[in-house]
C-alpha cells in the first residue's frame, strides 16, 4: 500500500509546483495588460482621486512581487478578490456557476467512456470490415468539428426541427430545487422529486452529448488502435490457442491491457472538455462558468479572470492526478516497481 501512497504524495507535490507556476503565469498576464484596471473598473467619469484610491486599495502601485505576495496571502485565506462585474466575491460567483459546468462535463465524460470505448472495441474486433470503416469515419467526424458546431447542429435537429429535447436551461422554471450540491441530477434525487430528475436529465442530455462527441470520437479511435495492437501480442495468441472464447478475450483479456495506454489521453480529453464546455454553454444558454467567464474576460475583470482560470486549472490538475492514480491501480507494473522483489 505504501507504494500507492508514495505515488500520491509524488503527484500532489508536482501538482503543487505546477499550480504555483500557473498562478504566477496568470498573475503576470493579468498585470501586464495595457491600461489601468482601476480606471477601467470605475469608468471614464470617475475622478483622478477616486481612481488613485482604488489603485491603493488594489495595491496597484506596489512593486510586482509585493502584489504577488498580497495575492498569495489572499488566496490562502480563500479570498479571490471581488469581481468588478458582479460586485460580489469571486468565490461566491464561482460557487454558483461552477457546479453547472462540472455537471455538464461529468455527464459528457460518462458518455465519452460508455459510448466511445465499446465503439472502439467493436471496431477493433471487426477490423477491416464495413462496420469498422463506418465507425472510423464517424469517429473522425466527431473529432473534426468544434463542440459548438455539433451543439448547433444537434440543437437544430433535435430541439427545433424535431422538438424532442428542450432548447435551453438546466431545468424548467416551474421546479424549485434546494441546492445541496449544486448538481441538479443529485439534488433532485435528494429532494425525492423524480419528475424533476427526469426533467433535469432531459435538459442536460443534448448539451452533454454535443460536448462529448469529440471525446467519443477520440476514445473510440484510441481504443481501436490499442486493442488492435494488443490483439497482436503473444499472450492473446496463447489464449486463443487455449480456446478461450473470442468474446471473453475481447471483453476481458484484450481490454484491460489496451485500456492503460488510452487512459492518459482520455484523461486529457476529459480535462479538455472543461475548456470546451464554454462553447456548448454559450449555444444552449447553460448557466455555467462560461457566461460568467466570457463576460468577465470582455470586461477585463482581473480578479474574476484570475480566479476562474485558477479554479479551472485546479480542476484540470486534479483530474490528471486521478487519472494517474487510476493508471497505477490498473497497471501492476507501476504498482510493484516501488516494492523490492
Amino acid at each position: 500500500m505504501s507504494s500507492i501512497l508514495r505515488l500520491i504524495v509524488q503527484r500532489i507535490s508536482l501538482a503543487l509546483i505546477v499550480l504555483i507556476g500557473v498562478s504566477m503565469l496568470i498573475f503576470a498576464i493579468a498585470r501586464l495588460i495595457p491600461g489601468d484596471p482601476a480606471r477601467i473598473a470605475l469608468g471614464p467619469n470617475a475622478t483622478v482621486e477616486q481612481v488613485e484610491i482604488l489603485r491603493e486599495t488594489l495595491h496597484l502601485n506596489d512593486p510586482i512581487y509585493l502584489q504577488y505576495g498580497y495575492f498569495v496571502r489572499d488566496i490562502s485565506q480563500g479570498d479571490l478578490g471581488v469581481s468588478l462585474y458582479t460586485n460580489r466575491p469571486v468565490t461566491t460567483d464561482i460557487a454558483q456557476f461552477l457546479p453547472a459546468t462540472l455537471e455538464l462535463v461529468i455527464v459528457a465524460g460518462i458518455m465519452m467512456i460508455c459510448i466511445g470505448l465499446p465503439l472502439g472495441m467493436i471496431s477493433a474486433r471487426y477490423k477491416g470490415q464495413f462496420i469498422d470503416n463506418l465507425l472510423r469515419v464517424v469517429s473522425l467526424l466527431g473529432v473534426s468539428a468544434p463542440s459548438f458546431v455539433w451543439a448547433v447542429i444537434l440543437m437544430l435537429l433535435f430541439a427545433y426541427f424535431l422538438p424532442i429535447f428542450p432548447v435551453a436551461g438546466r431545468i424548467e422554471d416551474t421546479y424549485v430545487i434546494k441546492a445541496v450540491t449544486g448538481f441538479l441530477l443529485i439534488d433532485t434525487l435528494i429532494d425525492g422529486n423524480i419528475d424533476a430528475f427526469f426533467n433535469a436529465f432531459w435538459h442536460i442530455f443534448l448539451p452533454a452529448f454535443a460536448l462529448s462527441l469529440s471525446g467519443i470520437g477520440q476514445a473510440a479511435r484510441l481504443t481501436r488502435a490499442n486493442m488492435i495492437e494488443t490483439y497482436n501480442k503473444p499472450y492473446i495468441e496463447m489464449m486463443r490457442a487455449y480456446g478461450v472464447s473470442p468474446f471473453r478475450i475481447a471483453s476481458r483479456y484484450a481490454f484491460k491491457p489496451s485500456l492503460i495506454p488510452s487512459l492518459t489521453i482520455i484523461g486529457l480529453d476529459f480535462a479538455a472538455m472543461l475548456g470546451n464546455a464554454f462553447l456548448v454553454e454559450a449555444v444552449f444558454a447553460w448557466p455555467g462558468l462560461s457566461r460568467y467567464g466570457v463576460a468577465v474576460i470582455l470586461r477585463k475583470d482581473l480578479n474574476a479572470i484570475v480566479g476562474t482560470v485558477l479554479i479551472i486549472s485546479l480542476t484540470f490538475v486534479l483530474v490528471n492526478i486521478i487519472v494517474d492514480l487510476l493508471i497505477a491501480f490498473l497497471n501492476p507494473r507501476i504498482r510493484y516497481s516501488q516494492r523490492p522483489k
Binding site: 505546477v18 503565469l25 473522425l140 468539428a145 468544434p146 459548438f148 437544430l156 426541427f161 470546451n276
Partner: protein, 277 residues
Amino acid sequence: MKLKIKILLANPLSFMGLLLISLVFGSAIFADFITPFPLHKGAVVDFSNFNQAPNLTNIMGTDLVGRDLFTRIIYAFRISIMLGVVVLIISVPIGVFMGLLAGYSGGKLDFVLMRITDVFLSIPPLVLAMAVMGLLEPTILNGMLAVTAMWWPWYTRLIYNLTRSEKEEGYVVAAEVVGASRWHIMFREILPNCTHAIITKMTLDFGFVILIVSSLSFLGLGVQAPTPDLGSMVAEGARYLPDSWWLTVFPGLAILIIVFGFNLVGDALRDMMDTDS
C-alpha cells in the same frame, strides 16, 4: 518520400483528405477569382438582398447585411489557413527546441524546462487562449500570439519523450564517443529521427488550430468584424436559429470539412509511422 506520397494517394481515405485540403487551399488562394462577390469579404452592405435563403445567385444565402455567404466563407478559409500557418511556424520550432534541450540535457535543465511546460499544459488550451485574448486587445495579431503561446508545449512534450528514448540508441552513443558537440547530436542526429512524428502532428494540428481559432472567434475573442471568420459567422448566425439556419450551418460545415480533411491525411501519416517502427 515519393513512396510515402504514393501510399497516401492509394488509400481512399487519405486521398479524400488530400482532395479536401487542396480544395480548401486552392479556393483560398484563388479566392479573388472564384467568388461571385469578392467585395463582400469586407464591409459591404446590400440591404435589398439581406437574409436570403440559399438560391441561385447566392448559393449559400446572404447574411444580415446582404453579403454573399459563399464568398465570405471562401475568404474565411484564407484567414484560417494563414492563422494556422503562422501559429505553427512560430510555435513548432520553439517547442521542438525546448523538447530537444530538456530531453537531451537531463538534470536541472530538464526539470525546470519541463515544469514550465507542465504549467502551460495544465490550463485547458481554450481557457488559456481566452484568458490571454481577453486581457489583450482582440485583434488577429493578438489572437495568433495567444494560440502560439499555448501551442508550443505540446511539441515540447512530444519531442521530449522522443529524445529521451532516442538518447539511449546506438547512433547517439556512437556520436558521443566520437566527441560530437551536444548541439550536433541534438540537431543532426536526434532531430532527423523525429521528423515524421513532427510532420504528422503538424498536419493534425493544422485542423486543431483552426478549431481553436474559430472557437475563440465564436466567443467574440478572436477575429473581429468585418473580417470573415468561420467561428464568428457561426456565432452571429446562432442568434437567428432556426429560421436563418444557413447562417450557422454552412460556416459550421466548412469548419468540419477543413478539419476533417487534415485529420484524414494526418491519420494516414500516423499509420505509416506505426508500420515504420
